[in-house]
Amino acid sequence: MSTGHVLLGLLSRGQQHGYDLKAGHDALFPSARPMAYGQVYAALTRLRDRGLIEEAAVERAGGPERTTYRLTPAGRDELEVWMSAAEHPPSEVNNPLATKLNVALVAGGPDEGALFLRRQRSAHTARMRDHTQTKRAADATLTQVLAADYALSHLDADVRWIDDALARLGEITREVTP
């Protein structure tokens, strides 16, 4: 995710200053790390230097100066192009479970591998229950439901992989000990 494009998206609502943008980001992505002010201002500077945003006003209301920014036509074009383009699907999926399973198979054999997989399966299903409860909460926002859906889909894929791996380990064990 590009911080700059998120800020362009937030600025499409109208002109805002850095504090508003940080608050807008944190409200839109409640499960993500809150955006640091330094990150906001560095990104705003880059966007301004590229001509994608411009200063709209400088406010001073009993405190330090606050600059509000707005999208330029170039910024609006950039946002449109970014929103409509598909993200590249990852060519390789990072799988820490496979790393640990492979080490367990080398160091401990199929029984050790299966034990790890069963423990991991329980940990995954417990987390899936948490996300399911989050989604079902009466006060869940659409953003929270979409985030939980995404997490559930990925955990679901992991659990299916774990089940397949356990079945394959069972086949290996049966071959070794007929």
Binding site: R121, M128, R129, R160
Partner: protein
Amino acid sequence: MSTTPLIATGLRHAYGNRPALAGIDLRIEPGDFVVITGASGSGKSTLLHALAGVIVPDAGSVRFGDVSVSGASEEARSALRRTRFGVLFQFGQLVEELTAVENVALPLLLGGMPRRTAEARAGEWLGRVGVAEVAGQVPGELSGGQAQRVALARALVSEADILFADEPTGALDSLAAEAVMDLLSELNADLGATIVLVTHEPRVAAYGRTEVHLRDGRIDTLSSYGQDDVIAQALR
């Protein structure tokens, strides 16, 4: 809400030479939401059918209070499924010639309730599962999600103590499946209905409070939501 646990002891069952259940002991507490998971052929549907009295296991027993489910005659088990147990399958198995409300009223009519009373109660249940508007339609006119809700109403219309569901979302897309699972969770939470559900889908299993994971006809893992180390008690 029933206060009676369902207790299975030493369940074994085979189809010809192929073992399906290889010794299962399980206690299902009233009000629990139990999901039975496992690979194809692990015995999960056989276990559900034995618990619900759909089949009689080769060995072992299923008891519901002072009722021996596994020792009862076909007629007595059939009566049990009309009164204390509700059963829901992957494809709702509605009677095609009957309207939704007539389908839901069927168990009540078979139990001897007058038609008008039975259909009034069936109509209430259609409302409870969110499909009151399809009461006069036949199954061929319903979407998959609507048909499964009608089947759920039929399974529960006799105020069943336990609902047994075999892959109830297997024929539905993920949002329709979610709606059915949300409904089951509400019935479990609001009415205290005990639910025992078979699924091969991790996302569906995530609705349960207790997961019974089978492998080769045995309980591989028994997990209860909210307990930290479920493995210690569970690995067999």
